[in-house]
Amino acid sequence: MSRIGVVVFPGSNCELDVQWALQSLGAEAELVWHRETDLRGLDGVVLPGGFAHGDYLRTGAIARFSPVMEPIQQMAADGRPVVGICNGFQILCEAHLLPGALIANRDLSFICRFVDLEVVDTDTVLTAATEVGRHIRLPLNSYEGQYTDPSGEARIVVRYQEDVNGSQNGAAAIANAAGNVVGIMPHPERALEEVLGSGDGRVLLEGLIAATERVPA
């Protein structure tokens, strides 16, 4: 069974949702404090949503220097899955594990609602179990959710079906070139049950769990 670490920064607040979601889909998921420097034994990590280090200075700016980020850089370089959700996405950008940056939503509103999305790239650890063109619905819950990438080279994985926050080219999730580092702004871990609005997060997290089971030795 794969073991996935869920990183807890001071101010993270979605770590228990992510842990519960991964466990309910059959993975072993353990919380990892941000001061941890040894991630041996983990097949992948998720950086959950929240307000790491209070979002002071810029979202993710201080979290980027938490001790846990050093072994995470190594995991990313080794090709192991590293996924950031919401605030975790912002941290991965600040850490330069993903290109670009996330700035305040175009209309300066905190967006908290379900959004309709389209998967546009399935060659990543988060989207491998889906197909290109698949429409999914996930909850979005962010203020700094507008993705911008001056290089214009970001690899978009999931797009908003409508322009919800001004994100460049509608980017809701992006990946690195190898496809093992993915940042996504909406929350797949909050969409596991149809009865709660959507079960579309399952296929993403199931893909992630499968990816952690075939990580490089």
Partner: protein, 79 residues
């Protein structure tokens, strides 16, 4: 030594807060305002009397933490 750091979004990066302030000023009748860009100013008190070294160190701090070079420019003023 007193050091001031000015941080601004690069001109090609959107500044939703600045745009909103500009619209608000226009609503108040200040139609002469063409645009508003927001930024951040940090005041540092840094020990040491070698101005060049202090500047180098503070610029390094900007590159590393205080600014995000992907979307922001910074300017360091000594004194």
């Amino acid at each position: 030594m007193k050091v001031t750091v000015h941080i601004e979004r690069r001109p090609e990066i959107a500044d939703p807060e600045g745009s909103t302030i500009a619209r608000s000023l226009a609503d108040l009748g200040y139609n002469e305002v063409q645009s508003v860009r927001t930024g951040r100013t940090l005041h540092l008190d840094v020990s040491g009397d070698d101005e060049a070294r202090v500047r180098d160190r503070v610029e390094e701090m900007c590159e590393k933490l205080l600014a995000n070079p992907v979307i922001e420019d910074f300017r360091v003023e000594i004194g």
